[in-house]
Symmetry: D2
Subunit: 308 residues, 4 copies
Amino acid sequence: MEQFEKLNKSTSEELDKILGIPFKVLDKGFIRVVDYMGTDSSIVQAARVSYGVGTKQVSEDEKLIRYLLRNMHTSPFEMCEIKLHIKVPMDAWRQWIRHRTANVNEYSTRYSIAIDDSQQTLPGEWRFQAADNKQGSSGFVQEEEGKLLTKQEEEFHKHARDIYNSRIENGIAREQARKDLPLSTYTEAYWKIDLQNLLRFLKLRMDPHAQYEIRRYAEVIGEEILSKWCPLTWKAFKDYMFNSTSFSGIEMDVLKQIVSGTPEDLEKTADESGWLKKRKDGTLVRNRERLEFEEKISKLGITAPWNK
Amino acid sequence: MEQFEKLNKSTSEELDKILGIPFKVLDKGFIRVVDYMGTDSSIVQAARVSYGVGTKQVSEDEKLIRYLLRNMHTSPFEMCEIKLHIKVPMDAWRQWIRHRTANVNEYSTRYSIAIDDSQQTLPGEWRFQAADNKQGSSGFVQEEEGKLLTKQEEEFHKHARDIYNSRIENGIAREQARKDLPLSTYTEAYWKIDLQNLLRFLKLRMDPHAQYEIRRYAEVIGEEILSKWCPLTWKAFKDYMFNSTSFSGIEMDVLKQIVSGTPEDLEKTADESGWLKKRKDGTLVRNRERLEFEEKISKLGITAPWNK
Amino acid sequence: MEQFEKLNKSTSEELDKILGIPFKVLDKGFIRVVDYMGTDSSIVQAARVSYGVGTKQVSEDEKLIRYLLRNMHTSPFEMCEIKLHIKVPMDAWRQWIRHRTANVNEYSTRYSIAIDDSQQTLPGEWRFQAADNKQGSSGFVQEEEGKLLTKQEEEFHKHARDIYNSRIENGIAREQARKDLPLSTYTEAYWKIDLQNLLRFLKLRMDPHAQYEIRRYAEVIGEEILSKWCPLTWKAFKDYMFNSTSFSGIEMDVLKQIVSGTPEDLEKTADESGWLKKRKDGTLVRNRERLEFEEKISKLGITAPWNK
Amino acid sequence: MEQFEKLNKSTSEELDKILGIPFKVLDKGFIRVVDYMGTDSSIVQAARVSYGVGTKQVSEDEKLIRYLLRNMHTSPFEMCEIKLHIKVPMDAWRQWIRHRTANVNEYSTRYSIAIDDSQQTLPGEWRFQAADNKQGSSGFVQEEEGKLLTKQEEEFHKHARDIYNSRIENGIAREQARKDLPLSTYTEAYWKIDLQNLLRFLKLRMDPHAQYEIRRYAEVIGEEILSKWCPLTWKAFKDYMFNSTSFSGIEMDVLKQIVSGTPEDLEKTADESGWLKKRKDGTLVRNRERLEFEEKISKLGITAPWNK
């Protein structure tokens, strides 16, 4: 039989240092690493199964990881797995659990008394509805108003807990007593996920459009945990998945006309996309795709010609 | 090129009759069929891909479906798909969503005002904590006590909705205003799942140990919808998955001794399993596995010899 | 912030002893453990997230694992993960890969020269088509005949490799040169799976109806690897998933009549199921469900009354 | 109870016209639509579950679909499902099956005689190994040489089929007789997948780097089937997923310097990325990331300054 290299259980010294230690999130939540399998090296090792003997020298680890990530060669990243213990408000958990490719054991309020903690919003933390984004928030309520809202909430949380407790004391089944717990109630869970799916979670939940509460958890996972666990992957993730900018076929055409074309061709190209429809008064009709394009090219220091 | 039989889009006359029509569940919830693909015939059709030409006469449809189901040949059942529109309390939805192999679009309380409906418990519906099952309920609270609990809940629901409304009126972002909605608040969703995974959902959620609220939804899906959509599969499901009884290797050994063996061998076999450990006073130590076995054989009209 | 117990990366001393060491399978295949996460204790730990503080004494680990397994509480088993390096003929790999909930990196014959190994069948290993099972085999071909078949195969393997090599030498792309490799050609892969899905794999592939070749791999995984990694789970698996016998609702009814009923009721019950349909000459029509039932009760030492 | 709009089973007139009709692929393969559920409208309908009553006028369907697609709002696309009947060489099928989120019933060569068709390569179709891409091909072998290779293959296919037939005739089990079928042997399958996962399949398999054989299948699915089934999604897919160009954070920095910066800053930015490392003779060291960037900006009509 052929010769095999000796194998050791994968370990990350950096991650071992924080194993089991909770990172605080929001007012009473936390995240801590329970266990893990694999490191940056395991990604490389798995990718090299494909290449057979004798190719190890071809690519250094970082280059290979960057190559895999930007080319959607996702399977080697699935070879790493991490298990977290989290404490999170049920409201954020409702979003979290939508990431289906993960393993979950949640604290059971059928079996046990509900955790007696609610996420409380401080006077300075109440956010206004965003005007331009139907599912976002923008700016904070004034202190005075905020105090009222916070006081209102405190009373409500007390009311909710009193009801829950009195049901329990009256012998009502836990599975039914819990029916009026507010979504701000904390829950706990073990959450296990492979690195590939974790990157997708972070891509979506570290995004500025993600809700603040879950974004805080995602940021802690990325910056405090993944950065130590798989530093090369974390760096590549930021470059290729988080800070990248994608231009559609149409956008590439328009951008080409802007940087290398003639004004006439540009006008024509942009017009074909329907971006330059005008009102009777000559102003441009609001067009979300055009606005997004303008934002993208502003990152290149370019102002759209039609705005000059 | 070879000859192909003509294909038609699958349809079920029986299911078409109830398409879009809501079945009421709990006090304000519902389930209705939005769309579907496949029928019992599609399962047979897919299974027969494996068998090549000329074998159609071998098995009748029902026999084949029963054969596939009891032998864990699950892939042909995945060829059918159903899409439901449901309205369900968030509490039950938290359990529902744990079935990961499904597609979901839920009503967004980030984008829109939360649905103004809560599941209310009537005076006669408050359940006691089960004594013998840490995660179950058993029996109902007396009417008088129930009235109090219901009144308490009504006031609480009003309090919760007042808080939510006043936040919204004060311009608080919907994504934050919703943080204290009680779990009894209704949500809506489109839920799409293949038949194989639906059977697993029904197996777990129609089970008498499932919580009453989600069980009601499962029963409606099974009895009102699946029974019309794929009647042969529904019948086979009940026989092989829902009403079946599984005996472990040990249980088969003990049962064999009971029905065909000698008293001495029985004693020995049961003893090896650790079931017959006794207290000093000669009574049997409580043993969950033995108790479950006793319950199973009672369905066969057999009383365990050690209880005689 | 609350107190947390210290956590250590999970390890299994028994499994560490065989880490990286290949177990031989078939003529040139192998399986070896590359990495893993979790042990029996991790299952218990995850299950106890649900129960809150103070319940640790309630159940010993083994009882809890057995309880979880027989009640389809599958999520705690998903908390363990194992990564294997395998070498397997493509024919068996085609079956293996149908288990979708796993992570895979396979040796690439687009990128590298195909592995120069084929699974060879020895003269005594050629199996006859089973008469009673369309997808099984039964009995072995005689030595003399077997020698011919083996020789034939050797020549064919040589022909196949010659063709492949000559294409490669002529500069044909590896992705095209490989198109005529026989299914007996070995491939290699890293295969990572959680324990819950591994149990399902073993349930299906250790089954006597599974094809011999893949069954050999499943047996090695179960008996040599899982037995060391999670011995309590392995034992519970054998009792509840592998050696268990499931009786359908109908079968329970008939069995009840056999062990506790009257002959008249038995006849009636069995007849309703359609099992006792007779030919003109009075013999029973072949009925697969009845035959399977007869086989099950024979394990209880019972002969069906209609066969007496 | 609230009012519900009437629902009808989704249908696509355009797709119904080709239902069941095979599109030829490669020499003997095909793809045909067996069944489907949902259309472009179903995507819109599902997305609107989130928005509550009264928002239908806000977005036209196409704009909404484009918005969902470019913002990774993937769940509404999962609401559509299609079932295809395909005939494909096992070699391409090995790649195909790696897309795990799909439902599959494949023709069984354990149960039935293997399909007597192999994919044959014509004299003009033999491709050379690519020099610059370890897993690609490039250019075609000369006619004369091609004729030899084709003849060689024909003889080999005959040899393979003779062996298979003689095993079957000698009573060898089908599951074993098949072990030496060449990968070019055709298989058939029912393949069912939701639209979201189909788009991912097409993204990867219509890519110019995908192997020619599977690319042909992907192209037929995209251009002949998806274009009729969900024309708005197909158009948005091409713009945002297929013809889009993604620039990493680093690439955006460099591009910004090129189009709006100073030569000094550009030099600095590009140098930090490690792209401009030079050999002793002053020429640039080969750097894959830099080369990919150069290719991207060439689509904008830009030549990298370091190449001028």
